[in-house]
Assembly symmetry: C2
Homo-oligomer: 322 residues x 2
Protein backbone atom coordinates (compact mmCIF):
# COMPACT_ATOMS: atom_id res chain seq x y z
CA UNK A 1 0.00 0.00 0.00
CA UNK A 2 1.41 3.33 -1.09
CA UNK A 3 2.11 6.02 1.52
CA UNK A 4 -0.17 9.06 1.63
CA UNK A 5 0.80 12.74 1.88
CA UNK A 6 -2.16 15.06 2.56
CA UNK A 7 -1.72 18.81 2.02
CA UNK A 8 -4.47 20.74 3.80
CA UNK A 9 -5.82 19.35 7.08
CA UNK A 10 -9.30 20.82 7.48
CA UNK A 11 -12.42 18.73 7.92
CA UNK A 12 -11.86 16.61 4.79
CA UNK A 13 -8.05 16.47 4.67
CA UNK A 14 -7.88 15.86 8.42
CA UNK A 15 -10.46 13.08 8.25
CA UNK A 16 -8.62 11.49 5.33
CA UNK A 17 -5.29 11.57 7.20
CA UNK A 18 -6.89 9.86 10.18
CA UNK A 19 -8.79 7.28 8.11
CA UNK A 20 -5.81 6.41 5.89
CA UNK A 21 -3.67 5.93 9.00
CA UNK A 22 -6.37 3.75 10.55
CA UNK A 23 -6.35 1.57 7.41
CA UNK A 24 -2.67 0.83 8.05
CA UNK A 25 -1.00 3.24 5.63
CA UNK A 26 2.00 5.43 6.45
CA UNK A 27 0.65 8.99 6.34
CA UNK A 28 1.94 12.51 6.84
CA UNK A 29 0.59 15.93 6.09
CA UNK A 30 1.00 19.67 6.00
CA UNK A 31 -1.26 22.63 6.73
CA UNK A 32 -0.77 26.41 6.72
CA UNK A 33 -2.71 26.54 10.00
CA UNK A 34 -0.36 26.38 12.99
CA UNK A 35 -3.35 25.70 15.21
CA UNK A 36 -4.37 22.68 13.12
CA UNK A 37 -0.76 21.46 12.85
CA UNK A 38 -0.37 21.63 16.62
CA UNK A 39 -3.63 19.84 17.24
CA UNK A 40 -2.77 17.08 14.73
CA UNK A 41 0.72 16.64 16.20
CA UNK A 42 -0.72 16.39 19.69
CA UNK A 43 -3.03 13.69 18.27
CA UNK A 44 0.09 11.71 17.27
CA UNK A 45 0.10 12.52 13.55
CA UNK A 46 3.19 13.41 11.55
CA UNK A 47 2.21 16.92 10.49
CA UNK A 48 4.12 20.06 9.55
CA UNK A 49 3.40 23.60 8.37
CA UNK A 50 6.09 23.13 5.68
CA UNK A 51 4.28 21.87 2.58
CA UNK A 52 7.53 21.72 0.56
CA UNK A 53 9.13 19.36 3.07
CA UNK A 54 6.04 17.15 3.03
CA UNK A 55 6.11 17.07 -0.80
CA UNK A 56 9.85 16.28 -0.89
CA UNK A 57 9.20 13.35 1.40
CA UNK A 58 6.35 12.27 -0.91
CA UNK A 59 8.74 12.32 -3.88
CA UNK A 60 11.29 10.14 -2.01
CA UNK A 61 8.64 7.66 -0.86
CA UNK A 62 6.73 7.73 -4.16
CA UNK A 63 3.61 8.47 -2.08
CA UNK A 64 0.17 9.49 -3.26
CA UNK A 65 -0.16 13.27 -2.84
CA UNK A 66 -3.63 14.48 -1.88
CA UNK A 67 -4.55 18.15 -2.39
CA UNK A 68 -7.05 19.06 0.33
CA UNK A 69 -6.92 22.86 0.29
CA UNK A 70 -9.77 25.14 -0.89
CA UNK A 71 -9.84 25.88 -4.64
CA UNK A 72 -8.43 29.41 -4.34
CA UNK A 73 -5.24 27.95 -2.78
CA UNK A 74 -4.84 25.22 -5.39
CA UNK A 75 -2.81 27.06 -8.06
CA UNK A 76 -0.08 28.00 -5.65
CA UNK A 77 0.10 24.50 -4.20
CA UNK A 78 0.28 22.95 -7.68
CA UNK A 79 3.39 25.04 -8.37
CA UNK A 80 4.99 23.43 -5.33
CA UNK A 81 3.85 19.96 -6.40
CA UNK A 82 5.35 20.50 -9.88
CA UNK A 83 8.60 21.59 -8.29
CA UNK A 84 9.00 18.92 -5.58
CA UNK A 85 6.83 15.91 -6.41
CA UNK A 86 6.13 16.14 -10.13
CA UNK A 87 6.18 12.38 -10.72
CA UNK A 88 3.97 11.42 -7.79
CA UNK A 89 0.52 10.03 -8.19
CA UNK A 90 -1.69 13.07 -7.48
CA UNK A 91 -5.30 13.32 -6.36
CA UNK A 92 -7.43 15.90 -4.57
CA UNK A 93 -10.66 16.31 -2.57
CA UNK A 94 -11.65 19.70 -4.01
CA UNK A 95 -15.37 20.14 -4.60
CA UNK A 96 -15.17 21.18 -8.28
CA UNK A 97 -13.42 19.03 -10.85
CA UNK A 98 -13.38 20.96 -14.15
CA UNK A 99 -11.44 23.96 -12.80
CA UNK A 100 -9.19 21.55 -10.87
CA UNK A 101 -8.40 19.57 -14.02
CA UNK A 102 -7.62 22.80 -15.91
CA UNK A 103 -5.28 23.91 -13.15
CA UNK A 104 -3.43 20.58 -13.10
CA UNK A 105 -3.08 20.62 -16.88
CA UNK A 106 -1.65 24.13 -16.63
CA UNK A 107 0.53 23.86 -13.54
CA UNK A 108 1.59 20.26 -12.99
CA UNK A 109 1.40 18.47 -16.33
CA UNK A 110 3.92 15.79 -15.41
CA UNK A 111 2.01 14.28 -12.53
CA UNK A 112 -0.23 11.31 -12.86
CA UNK A 113 -3.44 13.02 -11.74
CA UNK A 114 -6.80 11.45 -10.86
CA UNK A 115 -9.35 13.90 -9.43
CA UNK A 116 -11.46 13.04 -6.41
CA UNK A 117 -14.32 14.43 -4.37
CA UNK A 118 -15.84 12.79 -1.29
CA UNK A 119 -19.56 13.57 -0.85
CA UNK A 120 -19.29 13.89 2.90
CA UNK A 121 -19.08 16.77 5.31
CA UNK A 122 -20.58 18.60 8.21
CA UNK A 123 -21.13 22.32 8.74
CA UNK A 124 -18.00 22.43 10.93
CA UNK A 125 -14.49 22.92 9.64
CA UNK A 126 -10.85 22.58 10.72
CA UNK A 127 -8.73 19.67 11.97
CA UNK A 128 -10.72 19.22 15.17
CA UNK A 129 -13.96 18.72 13.19
CA UNK A 130 -12.39 15.71 11.44
CA UNK A 131 -13.54 12.17 12.00
CA UNK A 132 -11.97 8.81 11.04
CA UNK A 133 -15.46 7.55 10.14
CA UNK A 134 -16.54 10.57 8.06
CA UNK A 135 -16.34 8.70 4.75
CA UNK A 136 -18.04 5.48 5.82
CA UNK A 137 -20.33 4.42 2.92
CA UNK A 138 -20.06 7.87 1.34
CA UNK A 139 -19.89 8.35 -2.42
CA UNK A 140 -16.42 9.53 -3.48
CA UNK A 141 -16.14 10.66 -7.07
CA UNK A 142 -12.92 9.41 -8.72
CA UNK A 143 -12.33 11.19 -12.03
CA UNK A 144 -12.25 9.37 -15.36
CA UNK A 145 -11.11 11.48 -18.31
CA UNK A 146 -9.93 10.45 -21.78
CA UNK A 147 -6.31 10.61 -20.65
CA UNK A 148 -6.78 8.91 -17.26
CA UNK A 149 -4.33 6.09 -16.60
CA UNK A 150 -6.52 3.33 -15.14
CA UNK A 151 -3.68 1.95 -13.05
CA UNK A 152 -3.46 5.32 -11.32
CA UNK A 153 -7.27 5.37 -11.13
CA UNK A 154 -7.26 2.00 -9.37
CA UNK A 155 -4.65 3.22 -6.86
CA UNK A 156 -6.77 6.24 -5.92
CA UNK A 157 -9.85 4.04 -5.75
CA UNK A 158 -7.98 1.66 -3.44
CA UNK A 159 -7.33 4.59 -1.07
CA UNK A 160 -11.00 5.63 -1.28
CA UNK A 161 -12.12 2.08 -0.44
CA UNK A 162 -9.57 1.83 2.36
CA UNK A 163 -11.08 4.85 4.13
CA UNK A 164 -14.57 3.33 3.96
CA UNK A 165 -16.08 5.13 0.95
CA UNK A 166 -17.41 3.92 -2.41
CA UNK A 167 -15.85 5.17 -5.62
CA UNK A 168 -18.04 6.80 -8.27
CA UNK A 169 -16.21 6.94 -11.63
CA UNK A 170 -17.16 10.15 -13.46
CA UNK A 171 -15.75 12.73 -15.86
CA UNK A 172 -15.29 16.24 -14.47
CA UNK A 173 -18.21 17.80 -16.35
CA UNK A 174 -20.75 15.24 -15.06
CA UNK A 175 -19.44 15.73 -11.57
CA UNK A 176 -19.64 19.51 -11.68
CA UNK A 177 -23.15 19.60 -13.12
CA UNK A 178 -24.34 17.11 -10.50
CA UNK A 179 -22.80 18.81 -7.47
CA UNK A 180 -24.23 22.14 -8.66
CA UNK A 181 -27.61 20.40 -8.44
CA UNK A 182 -27.29 18.50 -5.18
CA UNK A 183 -24.80 20.54 -3.17
CA UNK A 184 -24.19 24.07 -4.46
CA UNK A 185 -27.84 25.01 -5.07
CA UNK A 186 -28.78 23.61 -1.62
CA UNK A 187 -26.08 25.84 -0.09
CA UNK A 188 -27.46 28.90 -1.94
CA UNK A 189 -31.02 28.05 -0.90
CA UNK A 190 -29.94 27.63 2.72
CA UNK A 191 -28.28 31.07 2.64
CA UNK A 192 -31.40 32.70 1.18
CA UNK A 193 -33.74 30.96 3.64
CA UNK A 194 -31.55 32.04 6.55
CA UNK A 195 -31.55 35.65 5.29
CA UNK A 196 -35.31 35.76 4.80
CA UNK A 197 -35.80 34.16 8.21
CA UNK A 198 -33.46 36.54 10.01
CA UNK A 199 -35.32 39.45 8.39
CA UNK A 200 -38.25 38.40 10.59
CA UNK A 201 -36.26 39.19 13.73
CA UNK A 202 -36.50 37.46 17.12
CA UNK A 203 -40.13 36.43 16.53
CA UNK A 204 -39.20 34.46 13.40
CA UNK A 205 -36.24 32.90 15.18
CA UNK A 206 -38.46 32.01 18.15
CA UNK A 207 -41.02 30.21 15.96
CA UNK A 208 -38.50 28.53 13.65
CA UNK A 209 -38.84 24.76 13.88
CA UNK A 210 -37.93 21.68 11.87
CA UNK A 211 -38.42 22.87 8.28
CA UNK A 212 -36.44 26.07 8.84
CA UNK A 213 -33.67 24.43 10.86
CA UNK A 214 -33.22 21.66 8.28
CA UNK A 215 -33.39 24.09 5.38
CA UNK A 216 -30.80 26.48 6.85
CA UNK A 217 -28.39 24.04 8.52
CA UNK A 218 -25.60 24.39 5.96
CA UNK A 219 -25.84 28.19 6.13
CA UNK A 220 -23.80 27.69 9.32
CA UNK A 221 -20.83 26.45 7.24
CA UNK A 222 -17.72 28.60 6.81
CA UNK A 223 -18.69 31.32 4.27
CA UNK A 224 -15.20 31.18 2.73
CA UNK A 225 -15.50 27.47 1.99
CA UNK A 226 -19.02 27.86 0.60
CA UNK A 227 -17.89 30.74 -1.61
CA UNK A 228 -14.88 28.73 -2.81
CA UNK A 229 -17.02 25.83 -3.92
CA UNK A 230 -19.98 27.72 -5.40
CA UNK A 231 -17.97 30.48 -7.12
CA UNK A 232 -15.45 27.87 -8.32
CA UNK A 233 -18.28 25.99 -10.07
CA UNK A 234 -19.81 29.05 -11.72
CA UNK A 235 -20.24 27.60 -15.23
CA UNK A 236 -22.11 24.52 -14.04
CA UNK A 237 -24.01 26.39 -11.32
CA UNK A 238 -25.53 29.16 -13.46
CA UNK A 239 -27.94 26.96 -15.47
CA UNK A 240 -28.98 25.15 -12.27
CA UNK A 241 -29.75 28.46 -10.54
CA UNK A 242 -31.73 29.47 -13.64
CA UNK A 243 -33.72 26.26 -13.41
CA UNK A 244 -34.48 26.96 -9.74
CA UNK A 245 -35.39 30.59 -10.48
CA UNK A 246 -37.76 29.43 -13.21
CA UNK A 247 -39.45 26.95 -10.87
CA UNK A 248 -39.75 29.48 -8.03
CA UNK A 249 -41.10 32.08 -10.45
CA UNK A 250 -43.65 29.59 -11.77
CA UNK A 251 -44.75 28.77 -8.22
CA UNK A 252 -45.09 32.49 -7.49
CA UNK A 253 -47.15 33.03 -10.63
CA UNK A 254 -49.42 30.12 -9.91
CA UNK A 255 -49.95 31.15 -6.27
CA UNK A 256 -50.76 34.72 -7.33
CA UNK A 257 -53.10 33.78 -10.18
CA UNK A 258 -54.96 30.57 -9.38
CA UNK A 259 -53.88 30.29 -5.74
CA UNK A 260 -52.57 26.78 -6.43
CA UNK A 261 -49.17 25.26 -5.70
CA UNK A 262 -49.99 21.68 -6.72
CA UNK A 263 -47.48 21.50 -9.59
CA UNK A 264 -44.58 22.71 -7.42
CA UNK A 265 -45.41 20.64 -4.37
CA UNK A 266 -46.26 17.44 -6.24
CA UNK A 267 -43.06 17.63 -8.30
CA UNK A 268 -41.08 18.10 -5.09
CA UNK A 269 -42.78 15.17 -3.45
CA UNK A 270 -42.04 12.97 -6.46
CA UNK A 271 -38.41 14.04 -6.26
CA UNK A 272 -38.28 13.12 -2.59
CA UNK A 273 -39.80 9.70 -3.39
CA UNK A 274 -37.25 9.19 -6.17
CA UNK A 275 -34.45 9.88 -3.71
CA UNK A 276 -35.90 7.37 -1.28
CA UNK A 277 -36.39 4.79 -4.05
CA UNK A 278 -32.77 5.20 -5.15
CA UNK A 279 -31.63 4.62 -1.59
CA UNK A 280 -33.76 1.48 -1.30
CA UNK A 281 -33.27 0.11 -4.82
CA UNK A 282 -32.01 -3.45 -5.25
CA UNK A 283 -28.47 -3.38 -6.64
CA UNK A 284 -26.71 -5.95 -8.71
CA UNK A 285 -23.02 -6.64 -8.93
CA UNK A 286 -20.92 -5.64 -11.95
CA UNK A 287 -17.29 -6.52 -12.74
CA UNK A 288 -15.23 -4.14 -14.88
CA UNK A 289 -11.87 -5.38 -16.16
CA UNK A 290 -9.63 -2.32 -16.01
CA UNK A 291 -7.30 -3.77 -18.67
CA UNK A 292 -10.11 -4.11 -21.24
CA UNK A 293 -10.27 -1.69 -24.18
CA UNK A 294 -13.68 -0.36 -23.13
CA UNK A 295 -12.94 -0.15 -19.39
CA UNK A 296 -13.11 3.66 -19.33
CA UNK A 297 -16.56 3.67 -20.98
CA UNK A 298 -17.75 0.95 -18.61
CA UNK A 299 -16.67 2.90 -15.54
CA UNK A 300 -18.27 6.16 -16.69
CA UNK A 301 -21.51 4.39 -17.68
CA UNK A 302 -21.69 2.84 -14.22
CA UNK A 303 -21.08 6.18 -12.48
CA UNK A 304 -23.64 8.01 -14.59
CA UNK A 305 -26.28 5.40 -13.83
CA UNK A 306 -25.80 6.04 -10.10
CA UNK A 307 -23.55 3.02 -9.55
CA UNK A 308 -20.57 2.71 -7.23
CA UNK A 309 -17.34 0.73 -7.11
CA UNK A 310 -17.21 -1.08 -3.77
CA UNK A 311 -14.17 -3.29 -4.23
CA UNK A 312 -11.07 -4.05 -6.31
CA UNK A 313 -9.93 -7.54 -7.18
CA UNK A 314 -6.54 -7.11 -8.83
CA UNK A 315 -7.26 -5.24 -12.06
CA UNK A 316 -11.02 -5.83 -11.80
CA UNK A 317 -13.28 -3.15 -10.30
CA UNK A 318 -16.26 -4.60 -8.44
CA UNK A 319 -19.31 -2.40 -8.83
CA UNK A 320 -22.94 -2.15 -7.76
CA UNK A 321 -25.67 -0.55 -9.81
CA UNK A 322 -29.47 -0.59 -9.61
Amino acid sequence: MRDVCVIGLGLIGGSLLRAAAASGRTVWGATVSEVDADAASRGGYDVTTDAEAALQRAASADAIVVIAVPLPAVENLLRQVAQHASHCLLTDVVSVKGPMLDAVRRRAPYTRYVGGHPMAGTSRSGWLAGDTMLFRDAAWVVGVEEETDLTAWAEVTRLVLDVGAHAVPLPADSHDETVARISHLPHLFAAILASVGAQGGPLAMSLAAGSFRDGTRVAGSSPDLVRAMTEGNRDALLPIVDDALGRLGAARGSLASTGGLAATINAGHEGALALEATRDAARSGVRIDLTAADAREGLVALGERGGRITGLDGAVALGEVS
Copy 2:
Protein backbone atom coordinates in the same frame (compact mmCIF):
# COMPACT_ATOMS: atom_id res chain seq x y z
CA MET B 1 -59.04 20.97 34.29
CA ARG B 2 -61.49 21.14 31.43
CA ASP B 3 -62.04 18.06 29.25
CA VAL B 4 -60.66 18.09 25.71
CA CYS B 5 -62.40 17.04 22.49
CA VAL B 6 -60.05 16.81 19.48
CA ILE B 7 -61.53 16.64 15.97
CA GLY B 8 -58.97 15.36 13.49
CA LEU B 9 -56.41 12.82 14.68
CA GLY B 10 -53.46 13.12 12.33
CA LEU B 11 -49.92 13.82 13.49
CA ILE B 12 -50.83 16.98 15.43
CA GLY B 13 -54.34 16.14 16.64
CA GLY B 14 -53.27 12.61 17.54
CA SER B 15 -50.23 13.86 19.46
CA LEU B 16 -52.39 16.40 21.28
CA LEU B 17 -54.93 13.74 22.27
CA ARG B 18 -52.14 11.57 23.68
CA ALA B 19 -50.35 14.43 25.46
CA ALA B 20 -53.54 15.91 26.96
CA ALA B 21 -54.48 12.45 28.25
CA ALA B 22 -50.99 12.01 29.70
CA SER B 23 -51.40 15.32 31.55
CA GLY B 24 -54.44 13.87 33.34
CA ARG B 25 -57.28 15.37 31.33
CA THR B 26 -60.32 13.48 30.13
CA VAL B 27 -60.01 13.39 26.35
CA TRP B 28 -61.93 12.06 23.38
CA GLY B 29 -61.77 12.60 19.68
CA ALA B 30 -63.09 12.02 16.20
CA THR B 31 -61.54 11.46 12.80
CA VAL B 32 -62.96 10.77 9.34
CA SER B 33 -60.24 8.13 8.90
CA GLU B 34 -61.47 4.69 9.94
CA VAL B 35 -57.90 3.46 9.90
CA ASP B 36 -56.81 6.18 12.35
CA ALA B 37 -59.92 5.67 14.52
CA ASP B 38 -59.23 1.93 14.75
CA ALA B 39 -55.57 2.48 15.59
CA ALA B 40 -56.42 5.07 18.27
CA SER B 41 -59.10 2.81 19.78
CA ARG B 42 -56.68 -0.10 19.90
CA GLY B 43 -54.29 2.27 21.70
CA GLY B 44 -56.96 2.70 24.41
CA TYR B 45 -58.26 6.13 23.35
CA ASP B 46 -61.92 7.10 23.22
CA VAL B 47 -62.22 7.83 19.53
CA THR B 48 -65.03 7.76 16.98
CA THR B 49 -65.61 8.53 13.32
CA ASP B 50 -68.75 10.45 14.32
CA ALA B 51 -67.68 14.08 14.79
CA GLU B 52 -71.23 15.17 15.68
CA ALA B 53 -71.40 12.72 18.58
CA ALA B 54 -67.99 13.89 19.82
CA LEU B 55 -69.16 17.53 19.64
CA GLN B 56 -72.44 16.77 21.43
CA ARG B 57 -70.45 15.19 24.24
CA ALA B 58 -68.21 18.31 24.29
CA ALA B 59 -71.31 20.49 24.68
CA SER B 60 -72.57 18.38 27.62
CA ALA B 61 -69.19 18.35 29.35
CA ASP B 62 -68.40 21.99 28.48
CA ALA B 63 -65.10 20.72 27.06
CA ILE B 64 -62.51 22.59 25.02
CA VAL B 65 -63.03 21.71 21.36
CA VAL B 66 -59.84 21.52 19.29
CA ILE B 67 -60.06 21.68 15.49
CA ALA B 68 -57.19 19.60 14.12
CA VAL B 69 -58.27 19.06 10.52
CA PRO B 70 -56.55 20.58 7.46
CA LEU B 71 -57.79 24.05 6.45
CA PRO B 72 -59.90 22.85 3.49
CA ALA B 73 -62.00 20.76 5.91
CA VAL B 74 -62.46 23.55 8.45
CA GLU B 75 -65.56 25.29 7.05
CA ASN B 76 -67.59 22.13 7.10
CA LEU B 77 -66.46 21.23 10.60
CA LEU B 78 -67.27 24.73 11.88
CA ARG B 79 -70.86 24.26 10.70
CA GLN B 80 -71.04 21.18 12.90
CA VAL B 81 -69.44 23.03 15.82
CA ALA B 82 -71.98 25.87 15.45
CA GLN B 83 -74.78 23.34 15.46
CA HIS B 84 -73.68 21.07 18.32
CA ALA B 85 -71.16 22.88 20.52
CA SER B 86 -71.68 26.56 19.84
CA HIS B 87 -70.96 27.68 23.41
CA CYS B 88 -67.83 25.60 23.92
CA LEU B 89 -64.40 27.11 24.24
CA LEU B 90 -62.93 26.56 20.78
CA THR B 91 -59.33 26.40 19.60
CA ASP B 92 -57.46 24.86 16.67
CA VAL B 93 -54.03 23.74 15.51
CA VAL B 94 -54.37 24.85 11.90
CA SER B 95 -51.22 26.32 10.38
CA VAL B 96 -52.75 29.62 9.17
CA LYS B 97 -54.56 31.94 11.52
CA GLY B 98 -56.08 34.79 9.44
CA PRO B 99 -58.21 32.52 7.22
CA MET B 100 -59.11 30.45 10.29
CA LEU B 101 -60.27 33.57 12.17
CA ASP B 102 -62.35 34.66 9.17
CA ALA B 103 -63.97 31.24 8.96
CA VAL B 104 -64.85 31.22 12.67
CA ARG B 105 -66.30 34.73 12.45
CA ARG B 106 -68.41 33.59 9.50
CA ARG B 107 -69.43 30.10 10.61
CA ALA B 108 -69.34 29.84 14.39
CA PRO B 109 -69.72 33.35 15.80
CA TYR B 110 -71.15 32.24 19.13
CA THR B 111 -68.15 30.22 20.25
CA ARG B 112 -65.41 31.56 22.45
CA TYR B 113 -62.55 31.09 20.00
CA VAL B 114 -58.80 31.36 20.63
CA GLY B 115 -56.65 30.29 17.68
CA GLY B 116 -53.61 28.11 18.13
CA HIS B 117 -50.70 26.68 16.15
CA PRO B 118 -47.97 24.39 17.52
CA MET B 119 -44.61 24.83 15.76
CA ALA B 120 -43.86 21.13 15.81
CA GLY B 121 -44.07 18.32 13.31
CA THR B 122 -42.29 15.68 11.33
CA SER B 123 -42.57 14.77 7.67
CA ARG B 124 -44.83 11.84 8.59
CA SER B 125 -48.58 12.08 9.04
CA GLY B 126 -51.55 10.17 10.46
CA TRP B 127 -52.38 8.85 13.94
CA LEU B 128 -49.49 6.39 14.04
CA ALA B 129 -46.97 9.20 13.46
CA GLY B 130 -48.19 10.91 16.65
CA ASP B 131 -46.06 11.21 19.76
CA THR B 132 -46.96 12.24 23.32
CA MET B 133 -43.67 14.19 23.50
CA LEU B 134 -44.04 15.99 20.15
CA PHE B 135 -44.74 19.39 21.74
CA ARG B 136 -42.03 19.29 24.42
CA ASP B 137 -40.51 22.82 24.59
CA ALA B 138 -42.09 23.73 21.22
CA ALA B 139 -43.46 27.20 20.54
CA TRP B 140 -47.28 27.13 20.32
CA VAL B 141 -48.87 30.32 19.04
CA VAL B 142 -52.01 31.23 21.01
CA GLY B 143 -53.97 33.96 19.23
CA VAL B 144 -54.56 37.38 20.75
CA GLU B 145 -57.02 39.58 18.82
CA GLU B 146 -58.86 42.73 19.88
CA GLU B 147 -61.89 40.68 20.85
CA THR B 148 -60.03 37.83 22.57
CA ASP B 149 -61.41 36.99 26.02
CA LEU B 150 -58.27 36.60 28.14
CA THR B 151 -59.95 34.08 30.42
CA ALA B 152 -60.48 31.84 27.39
CA TRP B 153 -56.92 32.67 26.28
CA ALA B 154 -55.58 31.50 29.64
CA GLU B 155 -57.54 28.24 29.40
CA VAL B 156 -56.07 27.45 25.98
CA THR B 157 -52.62 28.42 27.23
CA ARG B 158 -53.08 26.08 30.20
CA LEU B 159 -53.72 23.21 27.77
CA VAL B 160 -50.66 24.21 25.73
CA LEU B 161 -48.49 24.25 28.85
CA ASP B 162 -49.97 20.94 30.04
CA VAL B 163 -48.80 19.20 26.85
CA GLY B 164 -45.26 20.50 27.32
CA ALA B 165 -45.19 23.48 24.94
CA HIS B 166 -44.63 27.21 25.48
CA ALA B 167 -47.34 29.69 24.46
CA VAL B 168 -46.47 32.54 22.09
CA PRO B 169 -49.19 35.24 22.22
CA LEU B 170 -49.66 36.75 18.75
CA PRO B 171 -52.30 38.29 16.50
CA ALA B 172 -53.20 36.30 13.37
CA ASP B 173 -51.43 38.62 10.93
CA SER B 174 -48.08 38.45 12.76
CA HIS B 175 -48.39 34.69 12.93
CA ASP B 176 -49.18 34.28 9.24
CA GLU B 177 -46.37 36.54 8.07
CA THR B 178 -43.88 34.74 10.31
CA VAL B 179 -44.86 31.19 9.36
CA ALA B 180 -44.71 32.17 5.67
CA ARG B 181 -41.09 33.11 6.40
CA ILE B 182 -39.96 30.20 8.55
CA SER B 183 -42.19 27.33 7.46
CA HIS B 184 -44.01 27.87 4.16
CA LEU B 185 -41.06 29.26 2.20
CA PRO B 186 -38.85 26.41 3.53
CA HIS B 187 -41.46 23.91 2.28
CA LEU B 188 -41.50 25.56 -1.17
CA PHE B 189 -37.71 25.61 -1.29
CA ALA B 190 -37.55 21.94 -0.31
CA ALA B 191 -39.98 21.07 -3.13
CA ILE B 192 -37.93 23.00 -5.69
CA LEU B 193 -34.63 21.51 -4.51
CA ALA B 194 -36.10 18.01 -4.69
CA SER B 195 -37.38 18.68 -8.24
CA VAL B 196 -34.07 20.09 -9.45
CA GLY B 197 -32.24 17.18 -7.80
CA ALA B 198 -34.52 14.51 -9.27
CA GLN B 199 -33.99 16.08 -12.70
CA GLY B 200 -30.39 14.88 -12.35
CA GLY B 201 -31.55 11.25 -12.31
CA PRO B 202 -29.94 8.34 -10.45
CA LEU B 203 -26.48 9.95 -10.56
CA ALA B 204 -27.71 13.01 -8.66
CA MET B 205 -29.54 10.82 -6.18
CA SER B 206 -26.44 8.67 -5.73
CA LEU B 207 -24.21 11.67 -4.93
CA ALA B 208 -26.77 13.51 -2.78
CA ALA B 209 -25.41 13.94 0.73
CA GLY B 210 -26.04 16.13 3.78
CA SER B 211 -26.93 19.47 2.24
CA PHE B 212 -29.42 17.97 -0.22
CA ARG B 213 -30.96 15.57 2.28
CA ASP B 214 -31.43 18.34 4.86
CA GLY B 215 -32.70 20.80 2.28
CA THR B 216 -35.29 18.39 0.85
CA ARG B 217 -36.38 16.57 4.00
CA VAL B 218 -39.82 18.25 4.27
CA ALA B 219 -40.51 17.56 0.58
CA GLY B 220 -41.35 14.07 1.87
CA SER B 221 -44.38 15.48 3.75
CA SER B 222 -47.90 14.78 2.53
CA PRO B 223 -48.42 17.02 -0.52
CA ASP B 224 -52.06 17.64 0.47
CA LEU B 225 -51.06 18.98 3.88
CA VAL B 226 -48.30 21.15 2.41
CA ARG B 227 -50.71 22.53 -0.20
CA ALA B 228 -53.34 23.21 2.46
CA MET B 229 -50.95 25.26 4.57
CA THR B 230 -49.12 27.14 1.80
CA GLU B 231 -52.14 27.84 -0.40
CA GLY B 232 -54.16 28.75 2.71
CA ASN B 233 -51.59 31.41 3.57
CA ARG B 234 -51.43 32.93 0.09
CA ASP B 235 -51.68 36.60 1.08
CA ALA B 236 -48.82 36.41 3.57
CA LEU B 237 -46.74 34.02 1.48
CA LEU B 238 -46.65 36.03 -1.77
CA PRO B 239 -44.45 38.90 -0.49
CA ILE B 240 -42.12 36.40 1.18
CA VAL B 241 -41.74 34.44 -2.07
CA ASP B 242 -41.05 37.74 -3.83
CA ASP B 243 -38.33 38.52 -1.29
CA ALA B 244 -36.75 35.10 -1.91
CA LEU B 245 -37.04 35.49 -5.70
CA GLY B 246 -35.34 38.86 -5.47
CA ARG B 247 -32.49 37.43 -3.42
CA LEU B 248 -32.03 34.42 -5.70
CA GLY B 249 -32.14 36.68 -8.75
CA ALA B 250 -29.53 38.97 -7.19
CA ALA B 251 -27.28 35.96 -6.47
CA ARG B 252 -27.70 34.79 -10.06
CA GLY B 253 -26.84 38.22 -11.41
CA SER B 254 -23.79 38.54 -9.23
CA LEU B 255 -22.53 35.04 -10.09
CA ALA B 256 -23.00 35.73 -13.82
CA SER B 257 -21.40 39.18 -13.80
CA THR B 258 -18.64 39.37 -11.20
CA GLY B 259 -18.55 35.65 -10.35
CA GLY B 260 -19.04 36.51 -6.67
CA LEU B 261 -21.59 35.20 -4.18
CA ALA B 262 -20.21 36.92 -1.08
CA ALA B 263 -23.30 39.06 -0.41
CA THR B 264 -25.67 36.07 -0.56
CA ILE B 265 -23.51 33.68 1.41
CA ASN B 266 -22.44 36.16 4.07
CA ALA B 267 -26.04 37.30 4.65
CA GLY B 268 -27.08 33.68 5.01
CA HIS B 269 -24.29 32.97 7.45
CA GLU B 270 -25.27 36.00 9.54
CA GLY B 271 -28.86 34.73 9.56
CA ALA B 272 -27.69 31.33 10.77
CA LEU B 273 -25.65 32.99 13.53
CA ALA B 274 -28.68 35.10 14.53
CA LEU B 275 -30.75 31.92 14.86
CA GLU B 276 -28.08 30.35 17.04
CA ALA B 277 -27.76 33.52 19.16
CA THR B 278 -31.54 33.61 19.71
CA ARG B 279 -31.43 29.99 20.85
CA ASP B 280 -28.60 30.72 23.28
CA ALA B 281 -29.72 34.18 24.45
CA ALA B 282 -30.13 34.82 28.17
CA ARG B 283 -33.81 35.22 29.00
CA SER B 284 -35.42 37.13 31.80
CA GLY B 285 -38.73 36.49 33.49
CA VAL B 286 -41.80 38.66 32.89
CA ARG B 287 -45.16 38.62 34.70
CA ILE B 288 -48.27 39.76 32.84
CA ASP B 289 -51.44 40.28 34.88
CA LEU B 290 -54.22 39.08 32.58
CA THR B 291 -56.79 41.23 34.44
CA ALA B 292 -54.88 44.48 33.78
CA ALA B 293 -56.21 46.95 31.19
CA ASP B 294 -53.08 46.63 29.04
CA ALA B 295 -52.73 42.84 29.33
CA ARG B 296 -53.50 42.26 25.65
CA GLU B 297 -50.79 44.73 24.54
CA GLY B 298 -48.32 43.20 27.01
CA LEU B 299 -48.91 39.70 25.66
CA VAL B 300 -48.57 40.72 22.03
CA ALA B 301 -45.44 42.78 22.72
CA LEU B 302 -43.88 39.77 24.41
CA GLY B 303 -44.76 37.44 21.53
CA GLU B 304 -43.49 39.84 18.89
CA ARG B 305 -40.15 40.18 20.70
CA GLY B 306 -39.66 36.42 20.50
CA GLY B 307 -40.83 35.75 24.07
CA ARG B 308 -42.81 32.82 25.36
CA ILE B 309 -45.28 32.16 28.16
CA THR B 310 -43.96 29.23 30.18
CA GLY B 311 -46.36 29.22 33.13
CA LEU B 312 -49.65 30.47 34.57
CA ASP B 313 -50.08 31.53 38.17
CA GLY B 314 -53.80 32.15 38.55
CA ALA B 315 -54.54 35.15 36.33
CA VAL B 316 -50.86 35.97 35.89
CA ALA B 317 -49.00 34.74 32.79
CA LEU B 318 -45.33 33.96 33.47
CA GLY B 319 -43.17 34.78 30.48
CA GLU B 320 -39.59 34.68 29.31
CA VAL B 321 -38.05 37.10 26.86
CA SER B 322 -34.48 37.89 25.83
